[in-house]
């Protein structure tokens, strides 16, 4: 079992989420986050005073999947979060030891 986390553009969330649902990956957790990568932020104006916003509002999605779904998930996220400009985000993959469904007590793959 794997955990896939991706930091993406806020405005791409719906495309990514819909594509994942269509491919059968319906379980997802979504966070509003702020952060920065190599993208340098943007400039806001307040009464003519320029302010650099260097922590950018992003969306982080998180899903737990069976190992064999990994390539599909990565492909879907890459295709749907892509603009080609700086700031498209990153995908992180890490192993998951166990999953427990609280209501039934199921464990492992059954509980995903």
């Amino acid at each position: 079992m794997l955990k896939v986390e991706a930091v993406i553009r806020q405005e791409k969330l719906n495309d990514v989420k819909n594509a994942l649902t269509k491919a059968g990956f319906s379980g997802i957790t979504v966070y509003d986050v702020k952060g920065r990568g190599r993208q340098k932020g943007y400039v806001l104006n307040f009464r003519g005073r320029e302010m650099r916003v260097d922590l950018i509002s992003k969306t982080k999605i998180e899903l737990i999947i069976d190992d064999k779904g990994l390539d599909d998930v990565i492909k879907i996220i890459k295709e749907n979060a892509f603009t080609g400009d700086i700031g498209d985000g990153k995908i992180f993959v890490s192993p998951v030891l166990d999953v427990i469904r609280i209501r039934t007590g199921e464990r492992g793959k059954e509980a995903i």
């Binding site: 553009r9 791409k12 719906n14």
Partner: protein, 408 residues
């Protein structure tokens, strides 16, 4: 006639009341859009206060209310408020300074284009909006205000009754909204992505300010303090409450939930519908007008949802349809017993009153649709109307204004 201090006080207070409807509307619309477009829609409303106030003094008032040219428009004799002084103008408001009448009318010219913003929300360039605003108040608002309200205006001459702007303000804005929504096209992701109101308490705040300000709009349109203003105040309040209640109940039965946004939208529909009738009808008639406003506008919004055109915040359904119902209802329920300067309507033995009412409605719809389309077409072919797709995705607050509504 000498200046009456009571009348003048009421008209100045009413002018301030009508002004606050526009920031009220900004909150109403601001709450209904997604958070990334909050500032943009509020900014468009605020821009109406800045730009239209300026043009009104320079030439707009003269084009709307100045000396008549062929029943169609005022000439520019009163440009820059030349001759519009502190002496009363007997033809418009005999007991208040002419400038008090002028500034009261300015507030109507401000809110009318602001109403259209709801239909084109979330996708229009601010530069294109400003040019649209300038052209629209000049070639759509001023002529129609002249037709209906000015001495010599052809709809006024026909005997059509429009107490506070059912045709001039609401049908006019509702028709322009329909054209704007269709010509600009849908918001990106419409029908696919959730486009939920981001702050419903803002919607309630906006509704409250609109309701409060509308007492100036309707009761102020008596242009005098006293019996008629009181009557207009009472029927305005009654129709609004009944329409909100009607929408709430219909929506509850139809969808299963009592919706706060629905209650607010219904109240606004009631305010719209009672507007042309407010100086001519009795309280029980206003109850019927309120029921009609809640029911017809609810149906119009459902119809729009089914057809799938993206009038984002339902300007057509609430103002276009509500205004049309109000103008027709004025022809049904008006009575001379309420306002001797008015006329009796269909239910009071004068079926002929329906004819000028219907002509007034049709002329406003027709003129507003055609001229709004021409304005949008010209802007689209020159500087373009819509923001870039990626800007629309990020939101207009950042894309157009570099100011976010919610930074932290």
């Amino acid at each position: 006639m000498p200046i009456d201090t009571g009348d003048t006080a009421w008209l100045l207070v009413s002018s301030a009341l009508v002004l606050i409807m526009t920031p009220g509307l900004a909150f109403f619309y601001g709450g209904l859009v997604r958070r990334k477009n909050t500032n943009a829609v509020i900014m468009q409303c605020f821009a109406c206060m800045l730009l239209v106030s300026t043009t009104w003094v320079l030439y707009g008032y003269s084009m709307a209310f100045g000396p008549d040219v062929g029943g169609l428009i005022g000439n520019l004799d009163w440009a820059g408020l030349n001759g519009v002084g502190l002496e009363p103008n007997e033809a418009y408001a005999a007991t208040v300074p002419h400038q008090a009448f002028m500034i009261f009318q300015a507030m109507f010219a401000i809110i009318t284009p602001a109403l259209i913003i709801g239909a084109i929300a979330d996708r229009m360039k601010f530069s294109a909006f400003m040019i649209f605003l300038l052209l629209w108040v000049t070639v759509v608002y001023s002529p129609i205000a002249h037709w209906v309200w000015a001495v010599g205006g052809w709809i006024r001459g026909m005997g059509a009754l429009d107490f506070a702007g059912g045709t001039v303000v609401h049908i006019n804005a509702g028709a322009a909204a329909l054209v704007g929504a269709l010509y600009l096209g849908k918001r990106r992701g419409f029908g696919k992505d959730p486009m939920l109101p981001h702050n419903i308490p803002f919607v309630v705040l906006g509704t409250g300010l609109l309701w409060f300000g509308w007492f100036g709009f309707n009761a102020g349109s008596a242009l005098a303090s006293g019996a008629l203003a009181t009557s207009a105040f009472v029927v305005t309040h009654t129709a609004t409450a009944v329409a909100g209640l009607t929408w709430l109940i219909i929506g509850w039965l139809h969808k299963g939930n009592p919706s706060l946004i629905g209650a607010c939208t219904g109240a606004v529909a009631g305010l719209v519908a009672i507007t042309p009738a407010s100086g001519f009808v009795d309280p029980l008639s206003s109850v019927v007008i309120g029921v009609g406003a809640g029911a017809f506008c609810y149906a119009a919004v459902q119809f729009k949802n089914k057809k799938g055109f993206d009038d984002a915040l339902d300007v057509w359904g609430v103002h276009g349809i509500g205004g049309t119902w109000g103008a027709i209802a004025t022809g049904l329920f008006a009575q001379k017993a309420i306002n001797s300067a008015g006329a009796d309507g269909l239910f009071f033995g004068n079926a002929a009153q329906m004819i000028p009412q219907i002509i007034g409605v049709a002329a406003t719809w027709g003129y507003s649709i055609i001229v709004t389309f021409v304005i949008l077409f010209i802007i689209n072919k020159t500087i373009g109307l819509r923001v870039k797709p990626e800007e629309e995705a990020v939101g207009l607050d950042l894309g157009q204004h570099a100011e976010e509504a919610y930074v932290d």
